[in-house]
Symmetry: C2
Subunit: 436 residues, 2 copies
């Protein structure tokens, strides 16, 4: 029979068990931390009506989306978890308590050209807090604190959450009399790290922005220092319109909120050059970088939006949210050998020496399971050498070997597979050993 090659589509991640266990541990840590802060789970369909998913989209999104027709339906695969959230809140607004706090961990789909570090199917891990008509600024500190606590719990090395506020840039451009160039300026500022200050000035000039304004924009982006210093420098920057001032106070409120949440400043920094490509952010914005690996891009991004669901409802639903890009983060950590793939899920492999010991093996295994020890039994009737080969290959830390003698005396032989030491004892005594 002709065989089909068992290949994956390019741009899709699939893991062998040891890596999948590490991935799931990260995913569980994220969910548990989100839940500790009172975020509720949500699970929306992967497939939605294209007109619903694309109600506000355009440009790049439309090109990347997986979209097709079946029967009478024009269907699209979700490309993020924010649009489904907007649809959900608009549809269920009367059944929700506001501020509505939800997390969603799920796969999203973008038919991008495959390239290193870019996936076509990837996990997003979102938290959002959505208000009814209004939402206090302190929630903008809270989501940042939750994400920082989550990344700390993931044990991924040093990272810094960069924080800015869209109103500062809007106020700056208004003060410079070039608010009509906002989209271009956002796009160019996003490139500052790549092209440098001189490159950025050149790009701004090429868009028809005058040299004094271009210099002011670069000067703004270059304001650095501690959060307190940046805020002082912003106050002294010489832009005095309402929107710029609102940006300063919001930034100050977020910084002071982070202090209240007990987040030391080593975990965050004001960085006025982060702009976030997306149009819908209206206040605080966040991007998070691994220290020394800034070039791979942000691992957790988000921001404040004044009107989440305007495509679906007249009600004003302001919110703030941040998303951890888990598939990408996992891929970066794996490439940098920062993940431990030696952890198995199973604690014990029970090996009956012959089929006669199968009932005893099952009893011992059930006893371990009742004591919360993950236990597998190897039932194949093969040579002992092959049984031990399986034990080695599967990397399960303990083997429990059961022969006639063990069964007669109701004891077990417990072998530590790493140290190759073994002891003989009743099953109950082995539990402590295994749990260590």
């Amino acid at each position: 029979m002709k065989k089909t090659s068992p290949k994956l589509l390019s741009g899709f991640m699939e893991l062998l068990p040891a890596q999948q266990i590490a991935f799931n541990n990260m995913k569980n840590t994220i969910a548990q931390t989100y839940e500790k802060f009172g975020f509720m789970p949500m699970d929306t369909p992967v497939l939605e009506s294209a007109d619903v998913l694309l109600a506000k989209a355009g440009g790049e999104t439309e090109k990347q989306i997986y979209r097709f027709e079946k029967g009478d339906n024009d269907i699209a695969l979700r490309f993020d978890l924010t649009v489904p959230l907007a649809r959900f809140v608009a549809a269920n607004q009367n059944n929700l308590a506001f501020p509505f706090r939800r997390y969603q961990i799920g796969k999203v789909y973008r038919g991008e050209r495959p390239q290193k570090g870019r996936f076509r199917e990837f996990y997003q891990c979102d938290i959002d807090i959505v208000g009814n008509e209004k939402l206090d600024i302190i929630y903008e500190a809270e989501v940042a604190a939750v994400i920082i606590e989550t990344l700390k719990a993931l044990n991924i090395g040093d990272f810094v959450m960069n924080i800015s506020n869209r109103k500062l840039l809007s106020g700056l451009l208004q003060g410079l009399g070039i608010e009509d160039k906002a989209t271009d300026v956002l796009r160019i500022i996003d490139k500052l790290d790549k092209v440098g200050g001189g490159g950025m000035i050149a790009m701004l000039l090429a868009e028809g922005i005058g040299l004094p304004q271009a210099n002011a924009i670069l000067g703004f982006c270059n304001i650095k220092g501690s959060a307190r210093e940046v805020i002082e420098n912003l106050k002294a920057f010489g832009i005095a319109n309402d929107i710029f001032n609102a940006g300063i106070s919001e930034l100050a409120a977020v910084v002071s909120g982070l202090e209240n949440f007990g987040i030391p400043e080593k975990f965050f920094a004001i960085n006025l050059s982060i702009a976030r490509g997306l149009d819908y952010y209206t206040g605080t914005v966040y991007e998070t970088f691994l220290v020394g690996k800034e070039n791979v891009g942000s691992i957790a991004s988000g921001g404040r939006y004044d009107n989440l669901a305007s495509a679906y409802t007249d009600k004003t639903l302001p919110g703030v949210g941040i998303c951890i890009g888990l598939t990408r983060l996992f891929d970066i950590l794996r490439a940098n050998e920062m993940l431990d793939f030696s952890k198995t899920l199973c604690d014990v492999l029970v090996i009956p020496m012959s089929p006669a010991q199968i009932p005893y093996a099952i009893n011992v295994a059930n006893f371990f399971r009742k004591n919360n020890i993950k236990t597998e039994v190897f039932f194949e009737d093969v040579k002992f050498k092959n049984k031990m080969n399986y034990a080695n290959k599967s990397q399960i830390p303990f083997a429990v070997i059961l022969g006639e003698d063990e069964e007669k005396s109701g004891i077990i032989t417990l072998k530590n597979m790493k140290t190759s030491t073994q002891i003989t004892c009743p099953p109950a005594e082995a539990i402590e050993n295994i749990k260590k």
Copy 2:
């Protein structure tokens, strides 16, 4: 601005938070039980190359599948988790230890005509054990035992796993000289519950099967009783070919295996009329019914297959697996009001009386979180009445109210929202109260 209606496609399930929490609890219980028996997690892409996913499919599957082209790719959404497992094992056979035990919990997609109890996107929760060239019969008892333990842990009321063996039917048809009619007979037996014995005879006659053979088939399907009785009756049934006898011994081995696993017979029964529509089963087959709700169909089904990945590899990979249809099971339990939606995820809502108490509120919340208590803070500066409205609507069991007095004395007011009783105490003393 014209609004888009925030509607879902029909046939897709989406849950409000209280129901989602119940759903996730079920999903977590399933995963934890599977892991306790040493099954390793797998997570395959939702999208695959259509030629890979459909290498063995045909008929109904092809019609139901979501399939589309993007760029040069002919893409399909997975319609089960067994085909991806076959592809995975074929592709990674040199990196796996056999018998390979994996579980996968994920969404699958079938573009069926929407009808009650049928979803186009639904969760399957699969376990499979795949051998290299051979697989001991005891694993066919083990997967049944694991599924029974899982359904017990889900606390879904009485259920019975029905077990049969394909070889019995094959042997019967061979003995009756009508093995060429196997597909028709399988299809008709599947309808026995609906059409009754007389109806089944009529359908068999209509397929050109003689009356004596039709009567023998009905007599076979009607063998009932305890597992031991059914096996004795099968031995006395008068079919003496090798394949029929092999079916009897396999069935006897599975029953005795289930005894070894400590599964009482109230949880399983031999039912010779379960046939499972799918072609690829070659031995033991399983279907599981909720007692009193048999008409809604099987909630956990599967079977033994001799050659899992023959579409992709020359290597013979026999296996056995069972799948819990979680979305469907949840839907049935919900319709029968058998689920508890009163459980919230969050344990405590901390309410500062005024913005001045926000720092104290955050400290108290962080203290609770460190003690593994899921805690939310209500930060909006609104009237106290509105804060308590939120507490009621969100159904969080405890409110912690913090005013000036509480802050000064370093204490809290803990209100049990169900009983409306409240006490005042230091945060540390509240922990026991909340954990009860």
